[in-house]
Amino acid sequence: MTGSGTTGAAAASGSVAPPRPRLAVWKFASCDGCQLTLLNCEDELLTVASEIEIAYFPEATRAVVAGPYDLSLVEGSITTPGDAERIHEVRQASRRLVTIGACATAGGVQALRNFADTYEFRSAVYAHPEYIKTLADSTPIAAHVPVDFELHGCPIDKGQLLAVLNAFLHDRKPPIPGYSVCVECKRRGTVCVMVAHGTPCLGPVTHAGCGALCPSYGRGCYGCFGPQDHPNAASLAGRLTFLGMPGQDVQRVFRTFNAAAPAFRAESERHREAG
């Protein structure tokens, strides 16, 4: 059984429909999880695709529609000289550029290299490190080009992604609050794991968006959405120390998936080097 329609997007849709906004999805150093979030919108995907022309999305389609694009979603961090050039091309081809996820907004877990000797990292994994073209640091997209909006999360939240798409397609400000996970815990009625059980939790300094997932599973937040808009990381670190957490562990909890986000980075540097 063989179908038809292998090419051009316009042919099938007839002549009356107005041009749809064009979306492009780009990937840099990352795990693919944030762009998968778009494909995980199982109930909405086909509707989204009828409202938006998915013009460039290699994870999902072979078709390539040339730019410019009305909206580009960018996943991943900049870690190679080639990518540091490519992001400028992406920016030039995009009317709006939104970064999705911890890699694109803060450098991701691969930014742990920023605290280490990247050449040594290469040697540890590859026998011929001199052939691996990599930059010393993993940096967020905003360190290279202007970014219109940063959507946090490792991974991003599906509902927030749809809200951002909707907002940008209608030239509205995305309805994404910058307060902490604590607000979401209170809203869903979760008992504070740190107050009630002494479980270390990064919720007070972490950007909302996940719906306060970890505390609802009896686990402290591990900060995968990165710093909230006005974090008091020093105060939280004091609390973690009071709860008995050794200095190297305090450093570690700030150095995970958003290790290079300025607020987390600065706090981690105040604590003792691990190992």
Binding site: G33, D43, F121, G218, A274
Partner: protein, 447 residues
Amino acid sequence: MSDGGAPAGGQAGNGGSGGVSRTLHVPMLARVEGEASMHVVIYDGRVSEVELRIFEPPRFFEALLRGRAFTEPPDITARICGICPVAYQMSACQAIEDACGAIVPPPLQDLRRLLYCGEWIESHALHIYLLHAPDFLGYDSAIDLARDHRDLVERGLRLKKAGNAILTVVGGRSIHPVNVRVGGFYRLPTADELRGLRATLADALADALATVALVAGFDFPDLTHDCEYLSLRPAQGYPIDAGQVVTGGGLAFPAAEFDAHVTEEHVKHSHALHARLHGTDPYLTGPLARYALNSAALSPLAAQAARDAGLGSVCRNPFRSIIVRAVEVTYAVEEALRIIDSWEGAAAPSVPVEPRAGTGYGVTEAPRGVLYHRYRLAADGTITDARIVPPTSQNQISIEHDLRAFVQARLGLPPDELTRQCEQAIRNYDPCISCATHFLDLTVEHR
């Protein structure tokens, strides 16, 4: 080539010093997870080179794991792949628990298997419907396919969503689940939460069987490979979360001996690491291998679906791997239902795991094949060494080998059609490039 990162590039070029040479280069492989390109060199009518070039930037996970706490690999290594984070979490937990001498009781193992079934369903449905079926049906994407066959794509999305429902209930969220820890889980799902999945999974079972029937009707190009298969084989059931490593040649060994049998080496003109058995033999891991080595362990319904689809006990046409995936989805849905129906709770969400100095090994079946983890711990649980061997890296030599024969038989095709068919052939292996950056191919071409 360089590790590039830039998808720009020509469609086909030529060159060569003497002879008639043709270079076929697909600069960006679409519909695979991650970024890769394919490079084929044809010299005097013979395929002289096939390279699957992975230009995904390396992220150095094994290096950055050093100095981390023994409790952290499930969360950290999940970030290697957003498509199969549970596979990373399961192999990591198994390895750390092995190092620490912790035994996870059967109910918690069942719950892990249930979580893993969710990932298999999600990942396979994604691959079958959104990534691979468009090739067989002649479309650029599932979205294009939906214009003519909306019901079919909706079925795929429904099936995928059923997998995600399991991941969300047991894991907290579908990508990078938060509920997995060394020793078990942070919180046990309630019996009501598990029972709540039943209706979704009952529908999913019908969708899975319809999927087997659908893909069995595709046209399959002729291609037979004779490569060695490697998979896990548990004491009972189909391999997902546990088992010995076995091969078609009769090897059988535990995770702790993986390093002794599987070596990674540098090949000439490439700094890609390639996994081989005993330094010589390429092998294939993933659905075809699992099926060939374990088809007798399928549930009666999945086994019947496989027979109805025309699969024998072994399938050696890589294009038919899409049928095996559909059969595995059927099995995973049934298995999830079985675990839910037999769930009697657990004494605690996790068992305590005390760190100790030592080395631990873990190996499980990611949707796309065997995933091996090894950790060395200091007495306080600090990780001093890590090794991770993802499935795509193990498969790379076999993929290139298969492609060589495939292209050789199709040299008369117009370049665009040959390119399209090669892309389809690569997708047979569901390569997960994000996982496989070890195999970064940095060959510099001089043509």
